[in-house]
């Protein structure tokens, strides 16, 4: 393949990664923004989404779309419910102390991950996509008769990958509507701005925290259900999304939704594109160093607040 078609392919792959990453990172960012805590177990909720999706979809016979839709509806609920339990029994008990929460959620990370290993096992298993048509993509070049289109060998994507991108955009829009247009969004934003005042105005802050923590986990799980037909479910799959979400949230600015989405596009796309041309390990090294240096020299990120 020539460079041009190769780049187009890389951009498409990057866009799928960016879409899923935006959802996952948004969950982490929401939790940090409203609750001012870092959820180190966030990647495990992503993994839970994929693993639960497999448990839901695999026994369902008939068209794969039935199992997939069921997983799409139920897996985020399961992950969200587990997150609410974690909030009630761990985070609330340490009174959302930022450092204790990090140590506690590291513990939760191991508990969820190792429980998945016991129950689900060490294998990687796919969930069948609801539809999966190969779509060949055209490329152009200047020929003797002017602009000519042709279909280079290997330049193709699938309808499902395009669906993932569209679905992610839809979910992001829905998230934006919830945050800006609904009462629940208003309550979350009020709690984010000033916890004490929110309490004084009768907002049940503790319940808001539980909802936010569950909602953040559900977003990660939703992202995982979308990607699991492409990537397979595995008990260690939470590691990379956690790291990338950290990177996105820090670059984008903690608690800033706009920054998170912009950074997810930036990181997801460049991760996808760089991995095609460079070694993925090298691109990860550069990304992690970049993030560390952003935190050191520009702690407020692109948009948003300083982390203290």
């Amino acid at each position: 393949m020539d460079f041009g078609p190769h780049l187009l392919l890389a951009i498409l792959e990057g866009a799928v990664g960016a879409a899923v990453l935006a959802l996952t990172a948004l969950g982490l960012s929401l939790v940090f923004g409203v609750m001012r805590v870092v959820n180190v177990a966030h990647g495990e909720f992503f993994m839970l989404g994929a693993v639960v999706a497999w448990f839901i979809a695999s026994p369902i016979a008939g068209h794969p779309a039935i199992g997939f839709v069921a997983a799409l509806a139920l897996a985020p609920l399961v992950a969200g419910a587990i997150a609410v339990v974690v909030d009630r029994f761990v985070l609330k008990e340490v009174e959302y102390d930022p450092e204790a929460t990090i140590v506690g959620t590291i513990g939760v990370l191991y508990i969820i991950q190792q429980s998945a290993l016991m129950i689900y096992g060490p294998e990687a298993r796919p969930v069948e996509p609801p539809f999966n048509h190969r779509i060949a993509l055209p490329w152009f070049e200047w020929g003797e008769t002017g602009l000519e289109f042709y279909y280079p060998w290997g330049l193709s994507t699938t309808s499902y990958k395009l669906f993932v991108i569209v679905a992610a955009i839809g979910i992001l829009l829905a998230f934006w509507v919830i945050m800006s247009r609904t009462r629940l969004g208003l309550i979350m934003r009020a709690t984010q701005l000033d916890r004490e005042t929110a309490l004084a105005f009768g907002i049940p802050v503790q319940r808001v925290y539980s909802i936010v923590f569950g909602f953040g986990a559900a977003l990660a799980a939703l992202a995982a259900v979308l990607i699991v037909p492409i990537q397979q479910a595995h008990y260690l799959m939470g590691h990379d999304p956690l790291l990338l979400s950290f990177i996105v949230v820090i670059i984008g600015g903690l608690g800033s939704v706009r920054g998170t989405v912009v950074a997810a596009l930036l990181i997801g796309m460049s991760d996808g594109i760089i991995s095609v041309f460079l070694s993925p390990t090298l691109s990860k090294i550069l990304a992690t160093l970049l993030v560390a240096l952003v935190l050191v020299f520009r702690p407020q990120g692109l948009y948003g607040k300083k982390m203290a």
């Binding site: 140590v103 508990i111 190792q114 290993l117």
Partner: protein, 314 residues
């Protein structure tokens, strides 16, 4: 008897007890205890920063691994003798901790935790990327014949045990002494109230810088000793897990106590040893222990003993 005498007796008594254990224990437990002592040295290094200075690093594996690779590569590729290789490992860790400290100490709190985590991740990935020399995930084995000092083979279980004990004792006595000196008291001052300490005329940045370097260098020394004594070097030791372990050990044993790290490592080592016989998901124990400690016993084993019964414990 003054507090000072009591603490000297406690530390010397502990070392004497370990000598006796080394002589009487069967080979299997002797080997375990040697490993525990080296890992406890790592935990002591971590405790200098976390327990005494109040700075939580989530990236200490990079210092442990810097010592390990520095020493291991010097022997494996450079053919250096053990003592010079140990020196190379310790210097590698000291240099790395100086660089990390200068950057990471510009941040505080949660940002410090994440910056150290990210640096360690970059280190880990670099170790994988340079697989041609490091052996990547699989690592490499240091030739048995080269693992000896002045004719004493470190592959011999008893020699290895006493070498591990020597490393541990040096770290224990250095830190115990340090926390008695004004320098150590100021570290505690930084942990308890940094602003107040600064306004008593102490250069708190310089103290934190030194704390990171001392902590990183001791951790690196442990890593170098691990490479020499157990003959294996691998990227696992640079992974996130090995940054979380010392946190767990110190929390369990008692942060800011001199003997807590050893107690924490020993407890966890045998717990994991036992659990891994039951299930392959033995790291579940690690998770449960972390959550329970966060919820119920933030002072750890030795810390709780100190709080309840023996207030003079150093």
């Amino acid at each position: 008897m003054t507090v000072d005498t009591r603490s000297v007796l406690l530390h010397l008594g502990l070392i004497a007890l370990l000598i006796v254990l080394g002589l009487v224990l069967p080979t299997y437990h002797q080997g375990n205890l040697a490993r525990i002592l080296v890992l406890a040295t790592y935990a002591i290094g971590f405790n200098v920063l976390f327990g005494y200075t109040g700075l939580l690093s989530l990236g200490h594996a990079m210092f442990f691994a810097a010592g390990m690779y520095g020493c291991g590569l010097a022997m494996h590729l450079g053919g250096w003798p053990v003592l010079s290789a140990l020196g190379a490992g310790i210097i590698a860790a000291a240099v790395l901790s100086l660089i990390v400290a200068l950057l990471a100490l510009r941040t505080i709190g949660v940002a410090f935790m994440i910056v150290t985590l990210m640096f360690a991740q970059a280190f880990f990935l670099t170790a994988l990327y340079l697989g041609e020399w490091t052996g990547g995930d699989e690592g490499f084995v240091i030739a048995q014949a080269s693992r000896q000092i002045a004719g004493f083979a470190l592959t011999d279980p008893l020699t290895r045990f006493f070498a591990a004990l020597a490393v541990f004792s040096v770290a224990l006595l250095i830190t115990a002494r340090m926390m008695h000196l004004p320098f150590g008291r100021v570290l505690i001052g930084v942990r308890e109230n940094e602003e107040r300490t600064r306004m008593l005329g102490y250069d708190t940045f310089r103290h934190k810088l030194l704390a990171v370097i001392i902590s990183g260098t001791i951790s690196g020394g442990a890593g170098a000793a691990y490479a020499v004594l157990f003959g294996y070097v691998g990227a696992t030791f640079a992974s996130v897990q090995y940054s979380i372990f010392p946190l767990l050990w110190v929390l369990l044993g008692g942060m800011g106590t001199t003997i807590g790290p050893l107690i924490g490592v020993a407890f966890m080592f045998y717990l994991i040893d036992y659990a891994s016989g039951l299930t392959n998901a033995y790291l579940l124990i690690v998770g449960a222990a972390l959550v329970l400690l966060t919820l119920f016993a933030r002072a750890g084993i030795v810390g709780e003993i100190r709080k309840r019964w023996v207030p003079w414990l150093p």
